[in-house]
Symmetry: C2
Subunit: 190 residues, 2 copies
Amino acid sequence: MSRNKRTELIRKSLDLFYRNGFHATGMDLVAKETGVSKTSIYKHFRTKEDLILAVLRLRDEDFRNRLIRRMEDLSDTAEGQLMALFDALEEWFQQAGFQGCMFIKASAEFQQKEHPINVQAMEHKRLLLEHFTALAEAAGFENPRDLACQILVLKEGAIVLAAMSHSCDPASDARKAAQVLLRNHPKNDP
Amino acid sequence: MSRNKRTELIRKSLDLFYRNGFHATGMDLVAKETGVSKTSIYKHFRTKEDLILAVLRLRDEDFRNRLIRRMEDLSDTAEGQLMALFDALEEWFQQAGFQGCMFIKASAEFQQKEHPINVQAMEHKRLLLEHFTALAEAAGFENPRDLACQILVLKEGAIVLAAMSHSCDPASDARKAAQVLLRNHPKNDP
DNA sequence: TCAAACATGAACAGATCGGTCAATCTTTTC
DNA sequence: GAAAAGATTGACCGATCTGTTCATGTTTGA
């Protein structure tokens, strides 16, 4: 199987898992919808869990790259990019197929602390937190990690509420809150 | 079946669904663990979905009552209670069986907008938001609904991150953020 | 006390679950 | 162009899924 076909398979599986959930999506459906026979799928992925992990790896790269690039497109400054996070979120919420955060959902279905799927979901959040921390540091804030943690809490809360309510409003709620946090967070001496 | 037995059945089912997830918990297991035969369960609940809805109704009452009472125990003032929310959350995160918010997880597994389970999960969040709004109003804040929405975003974000990371830290992150929000939110003229 | 109401276990449907197999079909390689 | 290697297929495995049937207890109330 070529690398392209493999990626295609993962991408189509991603759509299915994202729309229907992990437990609720059977491998027969994956085979039917991807056009790849179950035997072939299992040649490349030992178990369903392995396929899910591959899906999450792809999603992590895709999502993080797109989000960060969008934040950079929306602003030139580190502080502006932190605020732009919430505009990017709102754009995402408005997209047709928006169904919440794939990692939150994965973690909800495989919640044991040491489960590889939960570990991978956590890793995604950790990488995002690293980026927010770097931005907060570049913007000259004291305790950049603290501020980044608060931004992350706002982001996750907004995603969960937007997915549940099928509304974009939580994005602006989170943005307003972030605005206040940024304005009041102490900065380093120049 | 007596009312007590019925409640007992729902409560034990709640534990199972909360620990293992909804799709991942079969009705045979529910029958075995509750000690109620499958036949009897289906006498009282037409479908598994009906049982889940009953579980969520119980959870809503239980959780909301406990949370609100704890906030009231921790503070006498409306503003203090809003802050105490995050102390109550932290206590919850520390409890042995903490596995995140049951409604977020239910919504993640049954995410279609009009699905009764998702509707019920949304209703739980709506009721919490009402309470936060009332507190914000009682505390004399302008735009109490706005402030309450921001508090709710912080709460949901903290729960999701705490469940995923199996850590209590998001509670204090959210509390610090809430502190800043409350301090800077405009108040009505006296 | 006797019958109506309810609860039970075990077996059974029919579908679907994750995963495998031998038999084919394609592609590569010499 | 033939042989080796890899990919694909549909049928199949045993287990489990939600939900039902039935014949047999067990409560319960008048």
